[in-house]
């Protein structure tokens, strides 16, 4: 029954939500709405699992005094600090949590993403070497879009933005749509395999 019960639950839940999409009956929709509510509650518990996992992994590394274990102590302390001030002091505007969010978390996260600009510049310098025809096409298109999507492009050539929009709206769109359709067909196939029990990797089996 250890294998059969999860398979039955998966089949019923999957089939139920497929049916919900096509059945307009209010009664059926109300049941689906209730089940959606349960799903939201279960998903919220994943944060507790996440915190538990972070603590478990870092506690082991701190206990063994692995490399950079001091940083892991700081991580755990910051985790409990923000949890504590959020739970006991609230998260509204003007709270201590809000102050730390605005003055530490926001600038740190913005800085991490800002660093990407420099690494992308360095990567573009090294990666966009025209070694083959395909590499040439990639480099030329990338340069055209890069210049056309900023005001300097329009200063260089008045129709540059329109040309860039054509690249985005025709060849790029065609390729992207093909990928989207392919991915959607793959998702349908995988979903049906999971619902019918043909795909069981989610249960931790081979």
């Amino acid at each position: 029954m250890r294998k059969e019960v999860p398979l039955i639950i998966t089949f019923l839940a999957g089939f139920f939500f497929i049916a919900d999409y096509f059945i307009p009956h209010t009664g059926f929709s109300n049941i689906a709405a209730d089940v959606n509510g349960w799903a939201i509650i279960v998903l919220a518990f994943s944060y507790i699992l996440g915190v538990g996992n972070v603590l478990r992994i870092n506690a082991q590394r701190i206990a063994k005094k692995e490399k950079d274990w001091v940083l892991k102590v700081i991580l755990v302390l910051c985790l409990f600090f923000m949890l504590g001030i959020g739970i006991f002091g609230g998260i509204a505007e003007g709270s201590i949590f809000d102050w730390f969010f605005v003055n530490t978390y926001t600038p740190m996260q913005a800085t991490m993403f800002a660093l990407l600009a420099f690494f992308i510049a360095s990567a573009a310098f090294r990666a966009f070497r025209v070694r083959t025809t395909q590499a040439a096409l990639l480099a030329i298109t990338a340069v055209l879009v890069m210049i056309g999507r900023v005001p300097i492009g329009e200063t260089i050539w008045k129709s540059f933005p329109d040309f860039t929009e054509w690249i985005m709206g025709v060849p790029q769109l065609a390729g992207k749509r093909a990928i989207l359709i392919g991915a959607a067909l793959g998702a349908i196939s995988t979903g049906l395999k999971v619902i019918t029990g043909l795909e069981r990797t989610y249960m931790g089996q081979d």
């Binding site: 109300n30 939201i40 996260q109 573009a124 933005p161 709206g169 769109l173």
Partner: protein
Amino acid sequence: MRKFFEFINKLDRRVIFIFVALAIIIPLLRPLNIKFTVTEPVQGFYDAIEKVPQGSKVLFSCDYEPGSRPELFPMTVAALEQMLRRNLKVIALSLWPAGPPIVEEALSDVAEKQFKSKYGVDYVNLGFKEGREVVMVSMGSSIPTTFPQDFRGTKVSEIPIMQGVSNFSDVKLIVNISGGYPGTKEWVQQVQARYNIGLVSGCTAVSAPEYYPYYQSGQLRGLLGGMKGAAEYEMLVGRTGLGRKGMDAQSMAHLIIFLFIVLGNLAYFSLKKKKT
């Protein structure tokens, strides 16, 4: 010349970092005011909000965190300004955990200070709810059940703007500012396709190419892509915001990267020719 190209080929990336930093800092300190025009997807975003009847309710989903703030916050405040100027009632929410404080900041700057709008009557921040697509589908059944309290802890049933709001049929448009997953793609797949409601999107420049198929098919009525999209939109709304201010810096940075790519290829071909 050969020595120069050999130097370029082995260029320390810190030199590139310095040039990119200067290209960004100098225009921010001394603006160049490079002119630009509005593109069609941005015009579509603006027109979609302009067509919503005055006094209607609009769902404003700000699905991003501080990492995407430079690109998305300018469009957030510009969209709020356009919506409040048209006397639209804004129901804001976020599907990202760190989104609500950013929404609160935008609402405070624009709704409270600029338009003197009243919280709970003209706008509301429902906060964050975990569940991603499940939350979207759940809102299709009942928004008050999905968000029983707002971000400030007030029961949604006691908030005037939420009276008569049951599900998506009670809002005229969804304005989505998206930094990734969950975001615009999920709103299109789970909500727009199923409930046939108007949807416009503002997104990061790196995500914009992915949403062009949805814009072309009409599933998205408008699309703002990155800081350029924000700058064009600010121009339409009549606002001099961070989007427009950042355009000079972005222009120069892109130009510098382009010059380095050209230099790199010149060095590569020159040295390759000499080897053969």
